[in-house]
Symmetry: C2
Subunit: 220 residues, 2 copies
DNA sequence: CAATTTAAAACAAACGATTGACTTAATCAT
DNA sequence: ATGATTAAGTCAATCGTTTGTTTTAAATTG
């Protein structure tokens, strides 16, 4: 119908930005519609107008996270998938896994924008709503599937082996802590935030662990 | 005031049990006073009567977590502290650290009661209120301080070395994931819950990682 | 009876949602 | 081009509900 959408506004995007911030900080119940519209500097009824309600806004934000993170991560996963088809050696598998972790650390600990996503993702992990499926299908599942295959390639065991999967979760858990335990870490290391140096320190440590573990995985 | 304590009710305890469940599941804002009193099967006004309000109930619950977990964990930490005074070898440091992790896994992944605590603790970690200080002083701080010393003993570096602390957080992060990522893990491993076998598998993997990492910590 | 708990009703404030008036911009018949 | 029409977007006012809290009265206990 509309040929020239010149008349369209940015209220929609402003609400989604505000929601990403406030839902992340205060959770769904903790962020009220008035909070959201004040932060976005839009009228109270804009939420109903654009998203059909508070829940619709939340769903839309989660969907956009899934799409954005998915398209950020999937090209990298596809590259790895291709290299996995050529039956890489354990050594090569380890390095591919380390590259991926390196990439994920850079994306999710370094950048302030992707940090905001994580709070919502973690909340959905702890107490899943229907939104969790969107996140899982969008990028959580693909990332973990790829990790399983990489750890499998590095260790020789099947990617369906529960041991491989538990090992993968444990290794990936090293990343998660640095997002969740920010409050503790600030105290213990007197870091104000994760700057370039801090991310580098975290990256070195985690990659060191991953290499050590996967190289010596036969010693149990 | 109260002459005969036999007359005292269990309404107080029932409210705290309900709060532990519901605050953990739905967060502070998500759990309403009516939810809480219905679950506890007490009158609505009991929250004000016993705790001075919803926030008072939350504070009391957090305080009780801090005390209970603290008294559960501190004897173990003190034992370790004593053994640390005798300048243990790196090998001994590693085994002490593994014993502690083993203990923590058993307590926090195995037992359903302690699982409930973790949700509240994680929430406070991600977005700290004043309650975080109570938890930190009660057990989070002591646990991490002890872990720092153990990793220091295992690696030779100072316990104040940022590298030791980052390494410690990374290693401990392996535990945290298995609480937070329950939803993902259920899908990937088709585990219904963490039974005896599942905890054993997690324990073996994590302890294997810790030993491998701390034994080969010079290879970077 | 007197002191202490419970039960139910009522409270103001905040919640998410809805309404209808209003402005702005694109469309179309003349 | 002009003026009427329609659609898109904004806004203040207000809706009915639920929130946490308070009040009032009845019940229970020693």
């Amino acid at each position: 119908m509309r040929k020239n959408p010149k008349h369209t506004s940015d209220a929609k995007q402003r609400l989604m930005d505000a929601g990403l911030d406030l839902f992340g900080k205060f959770s769904f119940d903790g962020a009220s519609t008035r909070m959201l519209t004040n932060r976005a500097e839009v009228n109270l009824s804009a939420i109903q107008y654009y998203f059909g309600g508070k829940e619709g806004l939340y769903r839309q934000i989660v969907r956009s996270i899934a799409v954005e993170v998915g398209s950020l991560v999937k090209p990298r996963l596809n590259e790895i998938e291709i290299q996995l088809r050529e039956n890489p050696s354990p050594e090569q598998g380890i390095e591919l896994f380390c590259d991926l972790i390196d990439f994920l650390i850079g994306q999710f600990l370094g950048s302030p924008r992707t940090q905001k996503w994580l709070s919502i993702v973690v909340r959905e992990q702890m107490e899943p709503t229907e939104a969790f499926d969107v996140l899982y299908d969008g990028f959580l599942g693909p990332i973990f599937d790829c990790c399983f295959r990489l750890v499998s390639a590095a260790s020789g065991a099947s990617e369906n082996d529960p041991e491989v999967r538990v090992r993968t979760y444990a290794l990936m858990g090293q990343l998660l802590t640095f997002h969740i335990s920010r409050a503790s870490i600030r105290r213990n290391l007197s870091w104000i935030d994760y700057g370039e140096d801090e991310v580098k320190a975290i990256r070195n440590t985690i990659l060191g662990h991953v290499r050590t573990v996967l190289h010596g995985n036969g010693d149990r």
